[in-house]
């Protein structure tokens, strides 16, 4: 008896050490992978403390020579000069565009999803099929005709031209609908009995309980708007209307006379998204993966 129990103990001891070793290997694996993934951004951050001319001459180099680091790029960026002023104009434009498209997209996608979920009517399934259909055509195919359309609607070089085509995002509608199908529909009837109108029910009763979906979607929409490049690049023409990515892109010339602003500006441009990510990490993942499991 005593013998077998000691054997068992040895076995569990052995398993425990095996577990610990495996756990160290597993954790080390992700540490290395994370290091590789984060590295380009760290390298960019280091480079932003070096003169831009060095970037053209040497590429993004790896050495950690602290003595050659300077704050000159950032001083120039925040200083009172043409480039700095231009940069913060782009920054401001990006912030405004992001705010407008998040508020617009969420409001419209919420009411559309509400209309597609809370009522039973003839065209409901057909309309939902149309929402899905818009997901099946890559947006890139539509850039030429949309570009032409924006010219004839006189919306080229305006914020409306950038925001309007994206307001009814199919995936956002899809997410809201997914969330709302789980809500109790009895609330609608309760609201009607209490004398609320259909619109009152939508905004005063149902909207508050859809808040978690709003949280997840607002972050995803904001990130999309802040980082959007292709469509704004086609619509905006005058430099004073550019958003941050479009503006930074114009600095990426072969002559590289603006690389100081480019690299420091790029790093400073990541900050808002990064802060939001650190605060609301849970919502990022929720919003992003919602379509994958059920869809």
């Amino acid at each position: 008896m005593a013998n077998t129990s000691s054997v068992n103990e040895k076995e569990t001891m052995g398993m425990k050490t095996k577990r610990t070793v495996l756990s160290i290997i597993g954790t080390a694996f992700f540490a290395v992978l994370s290091f590789i993934i984060v590295f380009p951004l760290v390298a960019g951050l280091i480079a932003s403390f070096r003169p831009g001319t060095e970037l053209i001459r040497r590429g993004l180099s790896v050495d950690l020579d602290f003595s050659s680091m300077t704050l000159a790029n950032y001083k120039y960026l925040f200083g009172n000069n043409v480039d700095g002023q231009k940069y913060f104009m782009w920054y401001k434009n990006s912030l405004i565009l992001t705010a407008v498209s998040v508020v617009g997209t969420l409001f419209i996608c919420y009411i559309v999803a509400y209309g597609l979920t809370m009522y039973n009517y003839k065209l409901k399934n057909f309309l939902f099929f149309l929402v899905i259909a818009t997901m099946m055509v890559p947006f890139e195919i539509l850039i030429l005709p949309l570009y032409k359309e924006m010219i004839s609607l006189k919306l080229i070089d305006t914020m409306a031209g950038v925001v309007l085509p994206g307001l009814c995002g199919a995936s956002t509608i899809f997410f809201f609908r997914q969330y709302m199908t789980g809500l109790p529909k009895e609330l609608l009837d309760a609201g009607r009995i209490d004398g609320a109108t259909e619109y009152g029910i939508c905004f005063k009763i149902m909207l508050p309980i859809t808040k978690p979906a709003f949280a997840a979607m607002s972050i995803l929409c904001a990130m999309g708007a802040w980082n959007n490049v292709l469509w704004p690049m086609l619509v905006f023409r005058s430099a004073e209307k550019f958003t941050l990515p479009i503006g930074l892109n114009t600095l990426l010339t072969p002559y590289g006379n603006n690389y100081d602003v480019l690299i420091a500006g790029s790093m400073f441009g990541i900050i808002p998204v990064f802060i939001v990510f650190l605060c609301f990490q849970r919502y990022f993942i929720e919003g992003m993966t919602a379509g994958a499991v059920k869809g």
């Binding site: 694996f29 380009p40 390298a43 009411i111 597609l116 980082n227 998204v273 990510f277 993942i285 992003m288």
Partner: protein
């Protein structure tokens, strides 16, 4: 007026009021441009006027070797991203989901960070990293490995490698998170009963995890196929514009952009778009068949 008001507030009208923005947006920004691009693909659009040319644009495409390069590049890129960005993130997800890894939240966050950056910023960083100078990061790495240095963005193989490295950097973490959320949906009782039957770790992965992850895998596959075929901005950033030496970085959308926007040939550019549309729809139908969507109706 009060009659209208009454109708507006009725339960019958309300849903249509709610979905009205979608109907408007659908008509203005989807159906109309889609029809317009189909029409334009049969036209030649010049400043002087528009001319119907029938199938001429498509006939020209069949003989256009630059377009063939673009198609080939897009397909190569798409297939290689599938090979790299489905099996590896899946394995990483399984490992991450096991009890063997400590500080999971931190690693997950690190792997997700690239998805936060705009293509412009990540493209700029990678353009600098793939610099052809000896001091460029990638050349430092390959030199340390004894492979010598490369003019990364000037040759076909290394140019494609650069695009794939950017894709892996951006999407490995995102795809891993998709697979993790798929794993969370698998009933743990299945693993317990597999344990009772004496299944090895590999058998559990092969016969429980992979089949039950199928919905997630199909989702990741679909978005990867679309993103792969429609890739443009990554190449645009790496080569600082739509042009690359010997068109090594030219994709289908890149060619659409070059013809339609840079050269202002909206007709010919639209024809390129229609080819991409047909490819996308064909893939969609194949995917629906594999998914078993049509089977249900037969039963």
């Amino acid at each position: 007026m009060s009659k209208f008001k009454k109708f507006f507030y009725s339960q019958k009208a309300a849903p249509y009021v709610f979905v009205l923005p979608f109907i408007l947006s659908f008509a203005l920004f989807w159906i109309y441009p889609l029809c317009s691009t189909i029409t334009m693909s049969f036209q030649e659009i010049k400043p002087a006027g528009t001319e119907w040319v029938g199938m001429a644009n498509f006939v020209k495409l069949t003989k256009d070797t630059v377009f063939h390069t673009a198609i080939l590049n897009s397909f190569e890129y798409m297939i290689l991203t599938l090979v790299l960005l489905i099996p590896f993130p899946m394995l990483f997800a399984v490992l991450m989901d096991s009890r063997l890894v400590k500080a999971k939240g931190f690693w997950k966050a690190c792997l997700y960070v690239p998805a936060l950056t705009s293509v412009v910023i990540s493209g700029t960083l990678f353009r600098l990293m793939f610099s052809e100078y000896q001091t460029g990061q990638m050349n430092v790495i390959t030199a340390a490995l004894g492979l010598g240095t490369f003019k990364w963005l000037k040759m076909k193989a290394t140019g494609l490698a650069a695009l794939l490295i950017v894709a892996c950097w951006r999407w490995t973490g995102v795809n891993m998170l998709y697979f993790i959320s798929g794993l969370k949906a698998i009933d743990t009782a299945l693993y317990e009963s597999a344990d009772i039957d004496g299944a090895t770790a590999w058998q559990k992965f092969r016969y429980v995890t992979i089949p039950l992850l199928k919905p997630t895998t199909i989702y990741v596959l679909t978005i990867s196929v679309y993103a792969g075929l429609a890739m443009f901005m990554e190449a645009y950033m790496l080569w600082a514009g739509p042009d690359s030496p010997n068109n090594i970085g030219l994709t289908i959308v890149g060619y659409l952009y070059k013809r339609g926007i840079t050269k202002n040939q909206l007709g010919y550019g639209s024809a390129v778009g229609i080819v991409l549309l047909v490819i996308a729809l064909a893939i969609n139908i194949v995917q629906l068949i594999l998914n078993g969507t049509f089977k249900k109706e037969e039963d």
